[in-house]
Subunit: 334 residues, 2 copies
DNA sequence: TTAAGTTGTCGAACCGGTTCGATAGTGAGG
DNA sequence: CCTCACTATCGAACCGGTTCGACAACTTAA
């Protein structure tokens, strides 16, 4: 493989001149520049990334740390990853994707060996063990999901409290007084997925304020348990006139369950959910829902990160930004 | 950040001694090793990845090139990516995931700047423009999907011809003489996704050999077109007693479409498909199907690649390996 | 005519590791 | 006691870039 030295020799200049011709950081005469470019083309020269990283202390790579839980409903994850990858590339960065089970250790390994210039965390839990590691790291960090301590990092998340209020309100004004709530899986609570209780607690609070009965269930994860559970719930709560579903697996399974039971939406039951537009299309979900905006969250996280990587000093205070929930009315309530 | 020089100074030895203590490539006295390790711990030293890459010409990173088509049914992709990431890590490699639209250019950029030691291609098309670039690269390459020219690369794919024969045969022995075939989307054919016509052509061939009527349709991609099309097909071919679906979006939508039409499986219609076990569970698909084994394919691709990276000479001939299709009988035929 | 830029280029140092060759010290074998 | 082999360590070179300081040649201003 051709090195900058080969180019220099072929063009009859010094290595530094080639470097300056490439970076434009010092002026180079037009003819020299021309000769250098010819040599580069002829030799097919591309700067070696490792050498450049060593010299500049910049890798132009972003570390993306994703938790994949085997027992979780995974297709939604991709909706975060792809926009992140796209935005990063637009800014000139590549993505090192890390999916190790032991997140903190992986993060330590990658960060301390200086493989990346910045770090994006997905799936952040309330007391996420990756956060202290991230805070120790030299690289700036940005994340999707709300941790308990947000010092020194940029945080992006949906406003789940407000989402819950919007949905309860949507049903309340239509006269519903008895509502089933399906929350995320039990282990999401256990693992500290704050969005789970932020949504649930706000929904319960809002319901109790208006004297609305609310039956809360932690959803199942996998088939066939999901279907079975939905049926059990519907059996147990015949008085409920509406359902709020904050659970991807459950809402994906709901159409067939309701269909099997002969329950019409919205005639027999009003249904609202919280999922992304893309997810809804994938599963053909006909339900009014709050949009979770995974692409906006992913994009924002990377953009904030890039700002800090480019200008570590001038990027301003660290911030927590909540995306405002928007409701999409698909006519599944009345 | 601490460098190997800092460690050396603190331990009172030379830099090379620290390096040898770490790599074990030369013998080091127990006490020196002890002092070095203490210094490493105290300083929190981790070797700089760029410097190491420069010195060893090894990055310990694998480039994973994925094509995401906006109009495609995406959740299946993750089933390849995760096992690949897992296997790579077990072998000590991290994953640089590249999702750029312009695959060939991205590949050239990454490969020629020596950011990775090896390359995995997903979604490989018949005349995939990434293949010639890969062949020029210094790094060995491995892929999932069958290209027209397999020189100099390792190829892994499901045996789609055999899969089609198995499914047709499964229906034939049960007496079906009129079968609907739903193939991948039209643009998969156009883009050269060989698996699409390999499956279709083998199915048609096998059907015609036995005088079975087969109605072939290229499926739609997104809702609500998918549902509409399925209904149209069923309207148009009332004489069909069975259906073979080689299309993720279509088979995911099929249960609700059949349910709406009051068509019972297998009483009114026999249905078989070709999808992964994981995909089937995700969408609660009750259909007999050939398993597509994305994890086995992903794992194999990485394993072959690792073998070549570790020992570029002794990894043997380049090979095309087809995974043998296994049928999972879920009782959706008779 | 000289002092003070400006432009274009070079050489050397540096980034942080790895690895080769040399060497001092130690123990065994003759 | 001498030689030989082996162990433990060091210094220097190298990987392939970037960047700083110096400097020659050429302008421009005084």
């Amino acid at each position: 493989m051709a090195t900058i030295g080969d180019v220099a020799r072929k063009a009859g200049v010094s290595r530094s001149t080639v470097s300056y011709a490439l970076s434009g950081k010092r002026s180079i005469s037009a003819e020299t520049r021309e000769r250098i470019h010819e040599a580069i083309i002829e030799l097919g020269f591309t700067p070696n990334a490792g050498a450049r990283a060593l010299a500049t202390s910049q890798t132009m790579v972003i570390g993306l740390f994703v938790n994949f839980f085997a027992d979780e409903f995974s297709p939604a994850m991709l909706q975060y990853v792809l926009p992140i990858s796209d935005v990063a590339r637009e800014a000139g960065y590549d993505i090192l994707m890390v999916t190790e089970t032991d997140g903190p250790q992986a993060l330590r390994r990658i960060a301390s060996s200086d493989m990346v210039d910045g770090i994006v965390l997905l799936n952040v839990a309330h007391n996420d063990a990756r956060i202290p590691v991230l805070r120790q790291a030299r690289q700036p960090g940005s994340m999707v999901g709300l941790p308990s301590n947000t010092d020194g990092v940029d945080v992006f998340d949906l406003d789940f409290e407000e989402s819950a209020r919007i949905l309860v309100e949507h049903l309340r004004v239509r006269g519903h007084r008895s509502i089933i709530l399906v929350t995320p899986q039990q282990h999401v609570f256990e693992r500290g997925g704050a969005y789970a209780w932020r949504f649930r607690d706000a929904a319960l609070e809002r319901a109790s304020r208006y004297g609305i009965q609310m039956f809360s269930y932690a959803g199942e994860t996998r088939q066939p348990a999901v279907n079975r559970q939905l049926n059990e719930i519907l059996d147990a709560r015949p008085e409920a006139t509406a359902m709020i579903v904050h659970n991807d697996a459950a809402i994906a399974a709901l159409p067939s369950v309701l269909h099997d039971r002969g329950i019409g939406v919205p005639d027999d039951l009003s249904v609202v959910g919280i999922f992304s537009e893309e997810f809804g299309r994938l599963f053909s979900l006909p339900y009014t829902a709050v949009e979770t905006s995974p692409d906006e969250l992913g994009r924002s996280a990377v953009q904030a990160l890039v700002r800090r990587m480019v200008d570590p000093a001038g990027a301003g205070e660290y911030a927590v930004r909540f995306v405002e929930p928007r409701i999409t009315d698909r006519g599944s309530t009345r």
